[in-house]
Amino acid sequence: MGIGLSAQGVNMNRLPGWDKHSYGYHGDDGHSFCSSGTGQPYGPTFTTGDVIGCCVNLINNTCFYTKNGHSLGIAFTDLPPNLYPTVGLQTPGEVVDANFGQHPFVFDIEDYMREWRTKIQAQIDRFPIGDREGEWQTMIQKMVSSYLVHHGYCATAEAFARSTDQTVLEELASIKNRQRIQKLVLAGRMGEAIETTQQLYPSLLERNPNLLFTLKVRQFIEMVNGTDSEVRCLGGRSPKSQDSYPVSPRPFSSPSMSPSHGMNIHNLASGKGSTAHFSGFEGCSNGVISNKAHPAYCHSKHQSSNLNVPELNSINMSRSQQVNNFTSNDVDMETDHYSNGVGETSSNGFLNGSSKHDHEMEDCDTEMEVDSSQLRRQLCGGSQAAIERMIHFGRELQAMSEQLRRECGKNTVNKKMLKDAFSLLAYSDPWNSPVGNQLDPIQREPVCSALNSAILETHNLPKQPPLALAMGQATQCLGLMARSGIGSCAFATVEDYLH
């Protein structure tokens, strides 16, 4: 019996090891055969009842065997990739049981892997870095500093630069400007963000019509959300009370963590103060159970959809159909959701149908908790004027889209973006609709980072901070290693190094 490895196409009628691209350990003489008819003394012989293991190490391209759980030492080195486990039987009636890991191995393979994982990690930790003294440290400091500057953490960047004796590449004022814009975007105050951008970087958006379009679409979404400044002032609310941008739990990818933090605290405080103004709406927000307030809620919805009908028609027939359904069904929420389901793909329909009940339950169970969030869930903040403004803005956006198409040709990304944004209006409760995730404050981040990058580019600064670039590079590199069959990548992930 011979146990070993073969490349594709090796003659299956001969014991592994005898032919080219095949390797084997033979039980009768205990020799190893490395693509040759003559074997080398390797290990003990093996016979009935013995458990022979064959382990290929994809990191150093070697192979060793085990007998009854004892490692016999390296049998082959410099193995080619893409080998298949092979067992060759010569004696009539021979039987072999193969275990590819479905049962625990007799040999402690886990322990062997632990050793290699440690080795690879030690190799990474001890990777030789620049010879010249301080060079490495300076580079790391630059990476940190540029990251802070990029995302506009001015005070931190300044403090860091001071303590590490570095110069910040960008002027402080410029950082502050970017930070101001970023804050506005992340707060959902898109109108102001666009305006400020145009003020501070006059030609930037003119040269980037697609970016402007993206910003405006976002503005539309924020209007629906009731957070954009234009609808907020119409709603007569304290402008900050609507700002619900949460602290992002993702420490690295979210550049906005620290700037938004302070704001959030502030918002919470002012939010509390402003609840009194909307005591009437509070009942309304719990409308699913409170009959009294319900009509008011639906009324506003009703109006908005009516107004929207022609426009939405031009975008998507089936959507307008839904809105019509909604209007005709008036307050019958259940039917509304049901018809939505029909209009959408079946899976969405299912989700809608079931999610409605879920929310009802939730509302009942956690009435107090959801109060404040229900408060915000008024289309455009619940103000009629704001809704009108939003509708108007939507028309402008539609026009802009058409103009863009004429000037720059078809743009599927833009088209989809707009379509998705308008789809929000097709639902009585856009936040809980299949397209509701657009309203999630987290969606402001890509917009924010696109705008930030564009501003930096005009200053001839990198679009991405070197730190993010390095991370991306490392991730890509690991992927490339995996595709090229370099085994050590299995024991290294970028996440392991992000604490």
């Binding site: 759980g69 004892h70 490692s71 016999l72 062997y112 632990r114 050793e115 994982r117």
Partner: protein, 642 residues
């Protein structure tokens, strides 16, 4: 106060000592305790890293005063602590400083300090003790008084107290605890038996050790936990077929022998593995197939490598330092591997030039290497096949005889034991060894104080005399002298007695040899035989003695020495009726030889023995249920019929 005034030279240095040093000492005598404390603190700051200042203060007599303050009941703990700190600082200086401190009997004072309830003071005392005991000038006996420190520590609850430290968050603490266990368990069944049942955080200690030898743990930790498990196994607390030995400890130790490890680690790994597998053939077999261990050990002989000599002086130095250690460790492990299994021995000998290497090892200057090489050869010499081939090809006997000429007992014991094997009759080395004066040497060994050497000496002579020619036998007898032979026959060591009887038996074989020897030494030999048969000895000794008589009875002229000795004849008769079949048989052979037909005077002998009532006994024995005895009796009776 030996530290006070050492030499006049010191005193002249003293004259140059600045007033400040004296000022520090003077302040220790201030009546105000607060000022004394401040003085000690200032002294502490003054001596840190300043060897000259330390020497000055010692000369000026600061040590006795500090010790006085440290032991004084009335001293505050703060003062005591500061005193201990200063003393510790002084100990950090030169070796002379440590000597001076020891002369002032600092150890008992510090040990007393450990009984304090103040942790800071205890810590300062411990630090100081550690500094003193890590100095090469401090004799260990100062701390360890009894012969069995393991038991003392064990009886004071060391196991329980150290066990929980194995789960400490600090690697250093875990490591030290592990080291403690390896020292405690070594060759100590009592400690080892306790360790297997100790629970730490719900886990048994062996399981914790197994976790510590996982392959991602630091090498030091893997190695030390493998040692713990090895010692526990050798002390009988863990079975040799337990998975934690077979699948964990053994492979771990083999890995420690790999080229990737540091030289020190490879030495320790090989030595520990040799110790683990020494008594167990199954472990020897597993080790022999694991990771090409036998070939891996061949690398131990490649230091200093030719590369290191050229490229790097520092490395050459390092290699040279470890070269001896590596070689002796490899020899030890080969010795253990080849202790029982013929195939493994063959594999070792077939490893690149291994016989040459071992033979070279026999004449190395380092006693450790020589001893290990002899052990290794001894282990391999248990193979009949290798004795006939490799041992002959490499003329192993030559360096071996040299080793035997002048070596410490340790080496002599193993070397002479190996000589016994080389003198076995089938060994082709027997001849040349005889020619090189082995008889004298072995006879010399029989006079050694060391019983192991006496046994080996007489054993080798016994092997030498087996089927040897007359001349050799005569040489042995002459060289040994009958006086020595008698001394050995009354040796307190049973082994010596047995092998001496064996020698006599081998000397007295083949008729001409028997007659020749008995003609010259007959009287003494008969005396010796009588003495032993009359003495209080076990069955084996008596049997061997009766066999000697049987041999004598086989001689032509020698027979008469028995026939004319009525005392002996009565004894033979007695043993024919003994309750032990072995002795009956031996006595029967004796009679059989005496009554044998076709030999001159057989008739007279038959008659005499019949008169003694031997024939009656023979008739009785021919009815014996023991077929052997029955056959022998019938054969003897037939001699009467013919």
């Amino acid at each position: 106060m030996a530290c006070l005034l050492e030499t006049p030279i010191r005193m002249s240095v003293l004259s140059e000592v600045t007033a400040s040093s004296r000022h520090y000492v003077d302040r220790l005598f201030d009546p105000d305790p607060q000022k004394v404390l401040q003085g000690v603190i200032d002294m502490k700051n003054a001596v840190i890293g300043n060897n000259k200042q330390k020497a000055n203060l010692i000369v000026l007599g600061a040590v006795p005063r500090l010790l006085y303050l440290l032991q004084q009941e009335t001293s505050s703990t703060e003062l005591k602590t500061e005193c201990a700190v200063v003393l510790g600082s002084l100990a950090m200086g030169t070796e002379n400083n440590v000597k001076s401190l020891l002369d002032c009997h600092i150890i008992p004072a510090l040990l007393q300090g450990l009984l304090s309830s103040d942790l800071k003071f205890i810590e300062a005392c411990l630090r100081c003790l550690r500094t003193i005991f890590t100095s090469p000038v401090t004799p260990e006996e100062l701390l360890y008084t009894g012969p069995d420190h393991q038991t003392i520590l064990f009886n004071h609850g060391a196991v329980q107290n150290i066990a929980h430290l194995l789960t400490s968050v600090s690697y250093k603490v875990r490591m030290q605890a592990l080291k403690c266990f390896s020292v405690l368990a070594f060759e100590n069944p009592q400690v080892s038996m306790t360790l297997v049942n100790v629970l730490v955080d719900g886990e048994l200690l062996p399981q914790i050790f197994v976790k510590m030898l996982q392959r991602d743990k630091p090498i030091e930790m893997q190695l030390t936990s493998a040692k713990c498990l090895t010692y526990m196994c050798r002390a009988g607390a863990i079975r040799t077929d337990d998975n934690c030995i077979v699948l964990k400890t053994l492979p771990c130790l083999v890995r420690m022998c790999s080229k990737e490890r540091l030289l020190e680690e490879r030495v320790e790994g090989a030595e520990t593995l040799a110790y683990l597998i020494e008594p167990d053939v199954e472990l020897q077999r597993i080790a022999s197939i694991t990771d090409h261990l036998i070939a891996m050990l061949a690398d131990y002989f490649k230091y200093p490598s030719s590369v290191s000599a050229i490229t790097d002086i520092k490395r050459l130095d390092h290699d040279l330092k470890h070269a001896h250690e590596l070689r002796q460790a490899a020899f030890k492990l080969y010795a253990s591997l080849g202790a029982n299994d013929e195939d493994i021995r063959k594999k070792i000998i077939e490893t690149e030039n291994m016989m040459d290497r071992i033979v070279t090892g026999l004449s190395e200057s380092s006693v450790k290497v020589r001893l290990a090489a002899v052990r290794c050869l001894h282990s391999l010499s248990r193979s009949v096949q290798q004795l006939r081939t490799s041992f002959q090809d490499h003329a192993v006997w030559k360096p071996l005889m040299k080793v035997l000429q002048n070596a410490p007992d340790e080496i002599l014991v193993v070397a002479s034991s190996m000589l016994c094997n080389l003198l076995l009759e089938f060994s082709p080395s027997k001849e040349p060894i005889l020619e090189s004066g082995a008889v004298e040497l072995l006879c010399g060994l029989t006079q050694s104080e060391n019983p192991a050497l006496r046994v080996n000496g007489i054993w080798a002579l016994m092997n030498m005399a087996f089927q040897a020619e007359q001349k050799i036998k005569a040489d042995i007898l002459r060289s040994l002298s009958t006086e020595q032979l008698f001394r050995l026959l009354s040796d307190s060591d049973l082994n010596v007695l047995m092998k001496t009887l064996g020698l006599l038996r081998n000397l007295l074989s083949t008729r001409p040899h028997i007659d020749k020897i008995m003609s010259t030494h007959g009287k003494q030999i008969m005396q010796a035989v009588t003495l032993i048969l009359e003495g209080e000895h076990n069955i084996e000794v008596k049997e061997q003695t009766l066999c000697i008589l049987a041999n004598i009875a086989d001689g032509t002229t020698a027979k008469e020495l028995i026939m004319t000795n009525d005392d002996i004849l009565q004894k033979i008769k007695y043993y024919m009726g003994h309750s032990h079949v072995k002795l009956q048989l031996a006595a029967m052979v004796c009679i059989s030889n005496l009554v044998w037909n076709e030999e001159e005077g057989s008739q007279e002998r038959q008659d005499k023995l019949r008169d003694m009532g031997i024939v009656d006994i023979l008739h009785k024995l021919s009815q014996s249920p023991d077929s052997n005895l029955c056959d022998k009796a019938k054969t003897a009776l037939q001699q009467y019929l013919a």
